[in-house]
Structures are given as structure tokens and as C-alpha cells.
């Protein structure tokens, strides 16, 4: 996967894909009877209109996408098709709430790391089932990670309706976590929290790991050709596949923990509007490069932040944003292919 993406300078591809998306989305909006100009303008204002819109909305919404996007990019680099970030995120959020609520009197320096570690561990645990099924039984991870998403969703539903339901018993949600467990603000006066910085640090760490360490080299090799890795590299692909699953699951789980500790301060049904799936678009647009994920997550954060404004100011239903995300993925795929078709006739034959 990763290396197909070397053919065209990544930024150029991404820009072309975004432009294509814009054109197709505009055509579809016009077809649906909405003036595309108004819709895009409202979307842009909602995302970048003011400093506070940008920081408190776009960047805050970009944070879970940044983390899940990194999770996907890392797994895909090893050719582990983890479609299960959504479930891993839910597992992480649940674990974060459970740990934070269980430590009411603890200091923030204790409870915050404990909360986030629990979230990461839960995400990794959630990813370990598909990992075991792939490495041990040869069951493809695409279906298993997908199915695990639904299990996580219903488990979360069950927990917030029953065992973890708030003491007031009004809504299907958990108690609020203690204030000590709230992530501190990153920029005073805005809602941007520490989670965004954590995401950027993880992006840098993953990039260094992939490009500068022997382990990262092995992971890229397994992603490019497991057979060559085993024969030429004399190392087994399996541990690498496990690492990819667990790290990916942990980062996606962390996304859930960060969201709970930084924004919602509690868990409820429908915590995620599908970040785990949007993350696929985020990672692909970034050509699976962790540093580029920071940028693409902000792009999708802007889409999300602007979606509300688009509905309010231009009357375009917010669900359009999901459709546009899909268009981005398809545009990236198509631009990549077209470029290949232009540069070579293919070597088969």
C-alpha cells in the first residue's frame, strides 16, 4: 500500500484529490438543489471563520480523527486492514471512564495517565481478538474488525444503560469523571485540550519509528511483502502483524480516552459519529504518512466543524459531510490510479 503512494508527490495527489472532491461535491449539491457556493462558504466560515472556531471547533474535532487516523495509517503500513478503530475507540472510552470514576480523590498526575493508559490498553485488547484470529486461524481481519465494531457499540450501549449508568438515572450515560481527570487546556481561553498535543507527539513518534528504526523497517517490509520479509529479512511476519494490531488498537483506544477526558467527561451512546471510519479517509489522504495525518485530520476536523454551520446557514443537512468523506477516499484512489495509468501501461505480460 504505502509504496504505491510514492509515484506522485503525495501533497500533489492529495491536493488533486481534494479538488476533484470539491468539484464532484459541488455538482452533487447543485443536483440536490443547494447552491454549492453558499454551502462551501458556510462550511468554511464554520471551520475557519474565527480563531475560536478554528481552535475550539476544528482542532478539537480533529483530535479524535488525528489519533484514529494514526491508528489506521500505522496498521495499513503493515498491511493490516484494521477497519475496527471505531470499536477500539469505544473500548478505550469505556475503560477510561471506568478508571477515572474509580479514582475519585486521586491527583491529576495520577488519574490522567491511569485513564489514558487504561484506554490504550482496552483498545489494544479489543484489537487482539482479530489479531489472534488472523495470525492463529487465518481469518481475514477486515470482517472480524468490522464485526468487533458492532460488538463494542452494543457493549457500550449495554454498559451505559445498566452497570455504568449515571447515579441520577436520568439519561443513558455514565457519571461525570472527577475534575482531576479532565485533560488540561492547551491554549487558555479555548476548548483545545492536551489530547491534540498528545496526537502530534504520537505522530512524530510513529514517523520516527517507521523511518528511523530497525523495527519500523521490518514493519514496512512486512507491509510491502511478507514473503520477502521472511526470506530476505529472516524475520517472522507474525510478531510484526501483532505489533501493528496492538499499537493500532492502543492508539484508537487512546482516541476514545482522550475524547472522554478532554471533551465529554463522560461516556454515552453515540459518543463517536463514526470517527473510526472517517479515519480511513484521513489516513489515506495522508498517504499513510503519520506526519501528514496531522494535516489531513485538521482538514476532516474542519469538515466536521463546518458541517453544523453548513446545515444552519445554508440548510444543507450535516449528513452530507459523510458523503463528502467517501468522495475524498474515492478521489484519492482514482487520482492515484490515473497517475499510474498515465506513467506506464502496466508490466503484466
Amino acid at each position: 500500500m504505502s509504496t504505491r503512494f510514492r509515484t506522485l508527490t503525495p501533497a500533489l495527489t492529495a491536493a488533486t484529490a481534494l479538488l476533484a472532491t470539491l468539484v464532484v461535491a459541488a455538482a452533487l449539491l447543485a443536483l440536490g438543489g443547494y447552491p454549492p457556493g453558499d454551502a462551501f462558504a458556510a462550511l468554511f466560515r464554520g471551520a475557519f471563520g474565527t480563531w475560536d472556531r478554528f481552535v475550539s471547533f476544528t482542532l478539537v474535532r480533529a483530535t479524535p480523527l488525528l489519533l484514529t487516523g494514526l491508528a489506521i495509517a500505522f496498521a495499513f503500513r503493515a498491511r493490516v486492514w484494521n477497519i475496527g478503530a471505531e470499536g477500539q475507540l469505544h473500548a478505550g472510552a469505556l475503560a477510561a471512564v471506568a478508571v477515572a470514576v474509580a479514582l475519585p480523590g486521586a491527583h491529576g498526575l495520577v488519574v490522567i495517565p491511569a485513564t489514558l493508559l487504561a484506554a490504550a490498553a482496552a483498545g489494544a485488547l479489543w484489537a487482539s481478538a482479530p489479531a489472534a484470529m488472523k495470525t492463529g486461524m487465518g481469518v481475514g481481519e477486515v470482517i472480524t474488525t468490522l464485526l468487533m465494531n458492532f460488538v463494542a457499540l452494543f457493549m457500550a450501549q449495554f454498559l451505559v444503560q445498566g452497570p455504568l449508568r449515571e447515579d441520577r438515572g436520568v439519561f443513558n450515560q455514565t457519571n461525570e469523571i472527577p475534575p482531576a481527570a479532565h485533560l488540561p487546556d492547551l491554549i487558555p481561553g479555548t476548548r483545545l485540550h492536551l489530547g491534540f498535543l498528545i496526537g502530534i507527539l504520537i505522530a512524530i513518534a510513529l514517523w520516527l519509528y517507521l523511518t528511523r528504526t530497525p523495527g519500523g523497517f521490518r514493519l514496512r517490509a512486512v507491509g510491502a511483502s511478507p514473503r520477502a520479509a521472511e526470506v530476505s529479512g529472516r524475520f517472522r511476519a507474525q510478531p510484526v502483524v501483532w505489533l501493528a494490531f496492538l499499537a493500532s488498537g492502543a492508539i484508537a483506544g487512546l482516541a476514545g480516552g482522550v475524547q472522554v477526558a478532554g471533551v465529554t467527561h463522560r461516556m454515552y451512546e453515540g459518543l463517536s459519529p463514526g470517527w473510526g471510519y472517517t479515519a480511513i479517509a484521513v489516513a489515506l489522504l495522508a498517504r499513510l504518512n503519520p506526519l501528514a495525518v496531522v494535516v489531513t485530520a485538521i482538514v476532516f476536523g474542519a469538515l466536521s466543524a463546518g458541517g453544523g454551520a453548513m446545515q444552519r446557514d445554508a440548510g444543507v443537512p450535516e449528513v452530507w459531510v459523510r458523503g463528502i468523506e467517501a468522495l475524498v477516499i474515492l478521489a484519492v484512489l482514482a487520482v492515484d490510479r490515473s497517475w499510474q495509468a498515465l506513467t506506464s501501461r502496466g508490466s503484466r505480460g
Binding site: 477497519i83 464485526l147 452494543f154 457493549m155 480511513i280 449528513v319 484512489l333 490515473s338
Partner: protein, 306 residues
């Protein structure tokens, strides 16, 4: 008949729930036999449901079914254009088609019926009772007092079995899935075979979606496909890519889902989300237990650069 009451109503529910799974999975069986795994099947199901709803309002229930089928086929055509024609990655493309379908069906629905939307009431497809067969105790009404969609699912089993294993085109299609190089060298048009197989799967999944809106519920709601397309893909694996086992696996899942409703009826306090998770957990368990003995087409999910 009375002594069969509980069992009979359970079976009726089980078959009703199994039909959309069976339709989508039978279609996907053909697609996977040709070497294409379409995660976008979920998208075809939701388009089928919406197409069915809109079609039924304009043309009546049977017209609705037809529109639903076409809508599912259109979604699959988009997938095929990318994954087969342009040779993009099947899994990523399928995911995109699913995300986009859930988004755009919602957009279409909201623009037509408003964002909050009162519960939509649709003309439904009535059940047809098959004379004599429907009188068999317990099983009769379950299998033979169903809507036309169920009978189409039954019919697909022998037809697809015959097509896949007894005809030249079936052999060619399986060859495309097993070894596209060999099929190409034998003069089989790989790309067209795959395109047609994917679109067929989309048509069947569209019918499954139309069943959800026009037979099962009589309404449309956003995201009402609720993972049926994904479960259908697991059903194909459990059914070992063979139509007769695929429909058996679909019935098994229909039964699991029906059981959850039956148990809720017995005790309302049972934690229903856990039962909702049950089919997915069963899918996972079944995949783990069965996969070692089943054989996926060798060329599944592999691209074929023209």
C-alpha cells in the same frame, strides 16, 4: 395449530429476518467466487431500502422492490467502477462506498422528508401463502407464507448452484476468482466477469434492502441497514461460498436474531443490547471455528491489472 404457536411465530420471525441476509449473501457469493469482496455491500443494502421506499411511494410496493434492486445495483456499479475497472483496493473502496452510501441516503432522505422526519409509512409487500405447503404445521407458515422476496431467495439457491457448478459461464466465473491469469489465458474476459458479478451482488443486496423497508418494517430510517451487509459477508464465509450452505448460514443468523426478540418478549428486563450484539459475536465465533476448513477463492481481493 395452537400447540405450535410459539415455535411457529419464532420461525416466522427467523425466516423473515434471514431473507435479507440470504439475498445479500447469495449475491455476494457470486461476487466473491469471481474474486471480488465487496465491503460496500452495506451501501447497496441501504440504497435498496431507500430506493424501495421512494419507489413504493411512487409506484406501489412491487414497483418499490424493482427500484430498490436497481438502486442497490447502482451502488455496486460505483464500487465496481473503482475496484474492478480502475483496480483500486477492494477493501478501501468498499469502505468508502459504505460510508458514502450511508451519508448520501441520509441526505436524500432528509431533503425529501425533512431532518426530523415523522415515521414514514410505506405501502408494504403482502405475504403470499403457498397453497398446501403453508399448511404444514409450524414450518409451513414460516417458509411458505412470506413475501415474494423470500421465494426469490429460495429460488436463487438452485439457480446459482446450477449456474456456478454446471455451466460454462459459472466455471469461467469461478476460474476468474481462483486464478485470473489462467482465466484470461483461456479467453475469459476477467474484468467484465467481475463487473457483472459485482453488479449482480449489488442487485441482490438492493432487494435485501427493499425487503427491509417494504416487507420487514414498512418504513425507512437512516442507517436502517444496521450492518446487515457486513453480516452477509460473514454469512458467505460461513456458507463456504456455496449457495446451499450460504442460505443455511443465513437462516442460522435469522434464528439467532429472532431468538433475541423471543427472549425479550418473555422478560422485558433482559439487557437487549447484549442480544443485539449476539449475531455479531456468533459470526466471530463461527468464523473462528469454521474458517480453517473452508476455502476462499484464491484470487479473492487481489487486483487484476488489465
Amino acid at each position: 395449530m395452537a400447540e405450535f404457536g410459539a415455535l411457529s411465530s419464532f420461525l416466522v420471525a427467523a425466516v423473515g429476518l434471514a431473507v435479507p441476509l440470504a439475498l445479500a449473501a447469495l449475491g455476494e457469493t457470486v461476487s466473491e467466487r469471481a474474486g471480488v469482496i465487496n465491503i460496500g455491500l452495506e451501501g447497496s443494502v441501504i440504497w435498496g431500502a431507500l430506493g424501495g421506499a421512494l419507489g413504493a411511494l411512487a409506484l406501489g410496493p412491487y414497483g418499490g422492490l424493482a427500484v430498490g434492486v436497481l438502486a442497490g445495483g447502482m451502488a455496486a456499479l460505483v464500487f465496481a467502477a473503482f475496484a474492478v475497472w480502475l483496480n483500486t483496493d477492494q477493501i478501501i473502496t468498499g469502505t468508502a462506498v459504505t460510508i458514502g452510501s450511508l451519508g448520501f441516503t441520509g441526505a436524500v432522505f432528509q431533503s425529501r422528508f425533512g431532518a426530523t422526519g415523522l415515521a414514514l409509512e410505506l405501502p408494504t409487500v403482502p405475504a403470499w401463502e403457498v397453497p398446501l405447503l403453508a399448511r404444514i404445521p409450524a414450518v409451513g407458515p414460516a417458509f411458505f407464507d412470506q413475501a415474494v422476496t423470500a421465494y426469490l431467495a429460495y429460488l436463487l439457491v438452485p439457480v446459482l448452484g446450477w449456474f456456478l457448478f454446471r455451466t460454462r459461464r459459472g466455471l469461467a466465473l469461478r476460474a476468474v476468482g481462483e486464478s485470473p491469469e489462467a482465466a484470461h489465458a483461456a479467453g475469459v474476459p476477467v474484468v467484465w466477469t467481475r463487473m457483472l458479478a459485482v453488479v449482480f451482488a449489488g442487485l441482490a443486496a438492493g432487494l435485501a434492502g427493499a425487503h427491509l423497508s417494504l416487507v420487514h418494517t414498512g418504513t425507512f430510517a437512516e442507517n436502517m441497514s444496521a450492518g446487515k451487509g457486513f453480516i452477509a459477508i460473514a454469512v458467505v464465509v460461513l456458507g463456504r461460498w456455496n449457495p446451499k450452505w450460504v442460505i443455511a448460514a443465513a437462516l442460522f443468523f435469522g434464528g439467532a436474531e429472532a431468538l433475541q426478540f423471543a427472549l425479550q418478549a418473555v422478560d422485558a428486563d433482559l439487557p437487549y443490547p447484549l442480544f443485539l450484539a449476539l449475531p455479531y459475536v456468533l459470526s466471530l465465533a463461527a468464523l473462528a471455528g469454521w474458517f480453517g476448513r473452508s476455502q476462499a477463492p484464491r484470487g479473492l481481493a487481489l487486483p487484476w491489472p488489465r
